[in-house]
């Protein structure tokens, strides 16, 4: 590059005494990043301790979690973790949803989803055409996965309350089919979340820029979009 070449058009623009457009927000503003990682921690605590509680009296006799993936050396400890982690999960989750609704972020990022887009994206993903040049728009599969995990998280809180308070919230527990039925729903919700986690972690590792984005904020999302 020669220093004597004429300066391109862009510089005059910067020198214009007009109001600069406001700096666009990062893809993942700080509150989102904080809540994301708090949620990750909360989910690991709830799942690990939940497995410990499950093992104490299994629902399916062919499913038993080995001690080294459980959180809590035995039932009492697993329960302590579970009833502590629930506060982090619920409060952080509520804050996330509130933030997402108030800022409009939930709607902008996750809706709408068109079936056509979903089919195309699934096909591309299966062929490993992971298009991630633009981190700022979620493809249809992403949107669906995030909606599913949010709903599963809410389901876990609701079914968890039904298990924890089957008399005080007896109406809720009855709605879920009784205590044992609520327990089953709680287990199935966990399975959905674990399934999500496997996919989510795998994909974020396959496209490490997404991971970096959730740590440092990622590219800026312009007003033009």
């Amino acid at each position: 590059m020669s220093l004597t070449q004429p300066v391109p058009e862009i510089l005059p623009e910067r020198q214009k005494p007009t109001l600069a457009p406001p700096r666009a927000r990062k893809l993942h503003p700080l509150p989102i990043r904080v809540m994301h990682w708090l949620n990750a921690l909360a989910m690991l605590i709830m799942i690990g301790s939940g497995w410990g509680i499950y093992d104490d009296s299994v629902i399916f006799h062919f499913i038993y979690f080995p001690h080294w993936i459980r959180l809590g050396t035995w039932a009492a400890q697993s329960q302590q973790w579970h009833f502590a982690g629930m506060w982090l999960l619920a409060l952080n989750g509520a804050a996330y949803l509130a933030y997402g609704i108030v800022t409009g972020r939930l709607y902008m990022r996750l809706l709408p989803i068109r079936l056509r887009d979903l089919v195309t994206t699934v096909r591309e993903t299966v062929h490993l055409h992971l298009a991630h040049e633009d981190l700022t728009t979620y493809n249809a599969v992403q949107k669906l996965l995030y909606i599913v995990v949010i709903l599963a998280g809410i389901s876990q809180v609701v079914s968890g309350l039904a298990i924890w308070k089957p008399v005080q919230f007896s109406g809720l527990t009855a709605l879920l089919g009784g205590f044992q039925s609520a327990r089953l729903i709680h287990f199935l919700g966990m399975s959905v979340i674990v399934g999500f986690l496997v996919v989510h972690v795998a994909l974020s590792l396959l496209v490490p820029r997404t991971l970096l984005a959730m740590l440092t904020g990622g590219p800026r999302v312009g007003g033009q979009k």
């Binding site: 910067r14 629902i59 009492a76 329960q79 008399v167 490490p208």
Partner: protein, 258 residues
Amino acid sequence: MMMSLFRPASPPDLAILDNHRPLIRSLSRRGLFRGTFSLGALVALTGCDVSNDASVQSALRAVSAWNDKVQAWLFDPKKLAPTYPASMVQKPPRFNAYYDIEHVKPVDGRDWKLEVSGRVADRSPWTIERLAALPQYDEIIQHICTEGWSYIGEWSGPRLSDFLDRVGADTRARYLYFTTADDYPTSIDMPSARHPQTLLAMTYARQTLADPFGYPVRLRTSTKIGYKNAKWLTSIEVTNEYKPGYWEKRGFNWFNGL
């Protein structure tokens, strides 16, 4: 492409980017990220070391004590537990204890008495006959164990609240503390003790309680987890002193209301 004050006059040859790609790739794969997501780290997070740390343990117990307060606030003394038809009563009921069935020590009902102490007006002990003379209530409710299993059972006996009134208990006292023939103390809060479905149960499925199930008297609540419902009662104390029961001393939650 990122905007920068230092953007070159003309874009660099794309070949330069090719040279840098391996560096960028290696940056993102450095231990910084690997450590956060590896199975090793997950194991470290979920393994025994974290759980058994003393400060972690005391923090968890502090949260459990906080949960006691929350549960006490959630408890509605007027809310009755669901009841069920007699056809659903499990016969025989399910047995559990902190020891095996072979070690159950039956109580001789003929010289058994229920001792009464603490903040009460009348400390005279109660015989089976005296208890049986109180108004009897029958309930078919769900027993839920902290392990996760449950069953429908039928118990009858006098209401604990009637008993407390008869002995002139201080109903503003905070706790009821029970001792048992098998060294399995338990304590519950006064509001739960006065709940209409809290009984001093003497029968199961309309038959006298069998030896393994707490003969002659067991505590039967509808609003507490299974392990709070002590069997083979030997004494009741009305007190303002918090005394943890058998399983609470081992880390389980004290209030544990349903």
